[in-house]
């Protein structure tokens, strides 16, 4: 039936995902879950916000993912004096040709690493909104499409607040996932030391996936079957965030769509051609938490947004057989 028809789809994606995860794992020790989540974003053509304390390997992860893909990679180091034109590109006057020419900015790439994104001013942050949502940029009334696939991997440090500008909700909503790496375990830290003793493994990293292949996989992901009750479960979770007592601003319909697509991608990465409620539950916190605004009481009580999403999810019934 459906399974037989789609077996190749899930296996194809699983194999490609396995290659990519294996390649990135040569640089990033442990953290398979975080790598898997970045891969989910890649397959959904979503964007990833990696948020953690300094020295955890955020930039390293982004660079390793970018290097594993045979795509054009650019890096934007966000600073308070970074201008929108530094990101999108500018028209300059060429004296030789006596005409204006466009010099593309770093956003015109397949994989864009925006390092320390919260150090850029709101004006510069906002110039990325169009690019992230519509895969195009408008410079001097001229709209230009961005190359496909297009993925923004942004990093930010949640501890340092001096000289930073918190990302606006509109910007946060455009990130499909927020990923935290967390500190490595004792064994993992030992492995990092031995692995980086001689040379940086990033230097010897080669690409394992081409842009065309990735585009094909993205298309295949949409074929992953989502049963009607699971689809309703996705919307029930996002809708439940809108009425929760600890949340001031609930998840948007874009979040519902993100959770839906991410679940499809995760199912495919795990070698399935159908989505289970477990996939939705697993992705609820990474997809939804950064899009919500908690109430002051919840913040004062120290309830994290991830914990609130956990509460929301535990209050939504999973579509399973009713007990007779």
């Amino acid at each position: 039936m459906r399974e037989a028809a789609k077996k190749d789809v899930s296996q194809q994606i699983k194999e490609a995902a396995g290659k990519l995860v294996g390649n990135v794992s040569k640089v990033i020790v442990g953290k398979k879950e975080a790598i898997e989540l970045v891969l989910v974003a890649l397959l959904c053509e979503g964007h990833v916000l990696i948020e953690d304390v300094p020295g955890i390997g955020k930039t390293m992860l982004a660079k390793a993912v970018a290097k594993s893909l045979d795509c054009r990679f650019r890096r934007i180091q966000s600073t308070p004096d970074l201008l929108p034109s530094d990101v999108t590109g500018i028209h300059y006057f060429n004296q030789k040709t006596s005409g204006f020419e466009f010099r593309p900015g770093p956003i015109m790439a397949n994989v864009v690493l925006v390092d320390e994104i919260n150090r850029a001013t709101p004006r510069t942050q906002s110039c990325m909104l169009e690019a992230m949502q519509e895969q195009q940029v408008t410079v001097d009334l001229e709209t230009m499409p961005l190359p496909r696939p297009f993925l923004v991997i942004a990093t930010q440090n949640p501890i340092e607040l001096e000289g930073t500008f918190p990302l606006p909700e509109a910007q946060l909503d455009r990130f499909l996932l927020r990923v935290s790496l967390g500190y490595p375990s004792e064994d993992e830290e030992g492995t990092i030391l031995s692995r980086f003793q001689q040379e940086n493994p990033l230097d010897s990293l080669t690409s394992v996936l081409e842009a065309a292949e990735l585009l094909e996989l993205q298309k295949l992901c949409h074929q992953v079957y989502v049963e009607e009750s699971v689809r309703k479960y996705v919307t029930a979770i996002t809708r439940a965030t809108r009425g929760h007592d600890g949340i001031r601003l609930g998840a948007s319909p874009r979040a519902s769509l993100g959770l839906y697509l991410a679940s499809q991608a995760l199912a495919a990465i795990r070698g399935r051609n159908y989505v289970m409620p477990d996939d939705v539950k697993y992705l609820a916190a990474p997809v939804l938490a950064h899009r919500l605004i908690s109430k002051t009481e919840a913040r004062l009580k120290g309830r994290s947004l991830e914990a609130i999403v956990g509460e929301v999810v535990s209050g939504v019934p999973v579509p399973v057989e009713e007990q007779p």
Partner: protein, 465 residues
């Protein structure tokens, strides 16, 4: 205090709470229906006996039908013994008269209500309650439900006793005992779930703090019982009657506003001259409505009036709740939790359940079109439904937010020896339910074998590993 002790306290608390209102109810029935011939504590003794008997019985790993038969056989024996001791103590055991009195009491029920029948019914209810308690999994919500259920019954019996001219003894003592068991059970259940302040820093002083709190509340209860006298209660009842009378008058007044249906016209008597019909103006002809329209309007009017009355009642009760909440909020150190929309949710759930029951009856006009499911898929889902039901009966129900995988891990922790069968059933179900996968005949056979093997295990008295 060990966990088992706390669980025992919960059982004692439920027995105590139910015992209180059962005692009052039986006393009332004994006075009105059996002329006060029965010794109520003796009848009530059957409740803990039923609980212990059924609890021990469930420890034996017998088939369900066998357990059920033995249990109700034991009830029949106890009921007969009770009738013999309580009503026919003077007759020898070999005399068949006391045995024959039972069918007689049933056949004569429309003429008289005999004590044997009261024993028959009350022991049946007590035995069922004991059986239910033996299989009940006691937690905080169960204890609160017991309290919420028991308190209105107790109050209702206290209120109807004076109009029925029945004098109940020891009402204050019974009420205090009820509250004692309720508070004890609720606080222990709360602490058991680890959400109580008793499970935090004050865990070391658990027993002392609990006893102090309960004693304080009971002393306050005693003080309240001094203030609230039977005269005061009588006054409240009179006031309630007066209000009800007022509402009844208002309803009667509203009903009087409706025009009475016209009596059927009888033809003129022979020889009687027919009076000419009164001439009506043309506009009256226009205003005259057909009977069907009038009936519809009448129903509409009644619905509107009843709706207004219900709305007024709802407003009054919500204002009272709001006032109580404000008062509580003003009290220092008091904590209260509002449940916005809880009533509406409960009401909607109730209506949904009623609708589901009606739909199951397949009433004409209410039946829904059954979803077309392939028989193979249906078999897999049916087996999973049975698994859910079996595990719930064993004391491990699925939480509504648990996915099949999560539930599998929970059950596999309890039944590690059946891990493979559980895994197979869960996996097949997941693929069928969410992946629209069609199992082969061999796979279905394997699934059925797994289910048969799995159900041989007993989940009762297992603990999570």
């Amino acid at each position: 205090m060990k966990l088992d002790w706390r669980q025992s306290i919960l059982y004692i608390a439920v027995l105590g709470m139910e015992g209180c209102w059962l005692y009052v109810l039986l006393s009332l029935l004994n006075t009105k229906a059996a002329g006060g011939h029965l010794a109520v504590p003796g009848v009530l003794l059957l409740y803990p006996v039923a609980f212990i008997f059924n609890w021990l019985l469930r420890r034996l790993r017998w088939p369900r039908a066998c357990l059920w038969s033995v249990s109700w056989l034991a009830w029949a024996v106890s009921m007969l013994l009770m009738i013999k001791v309580q009503v026919f103590g003077h007759l020898p055991l070999s005399d068949p008269a006391w045995l024959l009195s039972i069918p007689q009491s049933i056949t004569q029920v429309i003429y008289t209500f005999r004590p044997e029948l009261l024993i028959l019914l009350s022991t049946g209810v007590l035995w069922w309650l004991g059986q239910r308690l033996a299989r009940l999994r006691l937690n905080f919500s169960a204890l609160v439900s017991e309290f919420q259920f028991g308190l209105p019954i107790l109050v209702f019996i206290f209120l109807i006793a004076p109009p029925l001219e029945v004098t109940l003894d020891n009402t204050v003592l019974i009420t205090l005992t009820f509250f004692l068991f309720a508070l004890l059970g609720i606080s222990v259940a709360h602490a058991l779930e680890g959400t109580s302040w008793l499970s935090g820093l004050n865990q070391g002083h658990w027993g002392g703090l609990l006893l102090f709190s309960i004693s304080l509340i009971l002393i306050l209860g005693l003080l309240v019982s001094v203030v609230i006298t039977p005269e005061l209660l009588q006054f409240v009842v009179e006031a309630a009657r007066w209000v009800c009378g007022l509402i009844a008058k208002a309803i009667a007044f509203i009903i009087s506003l409706f025009p009475e249906p016209e009596p059927p016209s009888i033809g003129p008597l022979p020889g009687e001259s027919v009076p000419p019909p009164p001439e009506e103006p043309d506009w009256a002809e226009l205003l005259r409505m057909p009977e069907a329209v009038r009936s519809g309007l009448r129903i509409g009017w009644t619905v509107m009036v009843v709706g207004f009355l219900l709305f007024a009642l709802w407003r009054v009760s919500s204002e009272i709740f709001r006032w109580l909440r404000r008062r509580l909020a003003g009290m220092s150190g008091a904590e209260f939790e509002t449940l916005p929309g809880a009533f509406t949710t409960d009401l909607l759930n109730l209506l949904k359940r009623i609708l589901q029951k009606l739909l199951k009856l397949r009433l004409p006009g209410l039946g829904t079109r059954a979803k077309h499911v392939l028989p193979e898929i249906d078999s897999v889902r049916q087996i999973y439904r049975r698994l859910l039901s079996w595990a719930a009966a064993g004391g491990f129900p699925r939480h509504s937010s648990q996915t099949p995988h999560e539930y599998y891990y929970a059950l596999a922790g309890v039944l590690p020896e059946a891990q493979d069968d559980l895994g197979l059933i869960t996996q097949q179900y997941i693929r069928t339910r969410y992946g629209m996968w069609l199992p082969t005949e061999d796979e279905l056979d394997q699934l059925r074998h797994s289910w048969r093997r799995l159900r041989q295990n007993h989940l009762k008295n297992r603990r999570q590993i």
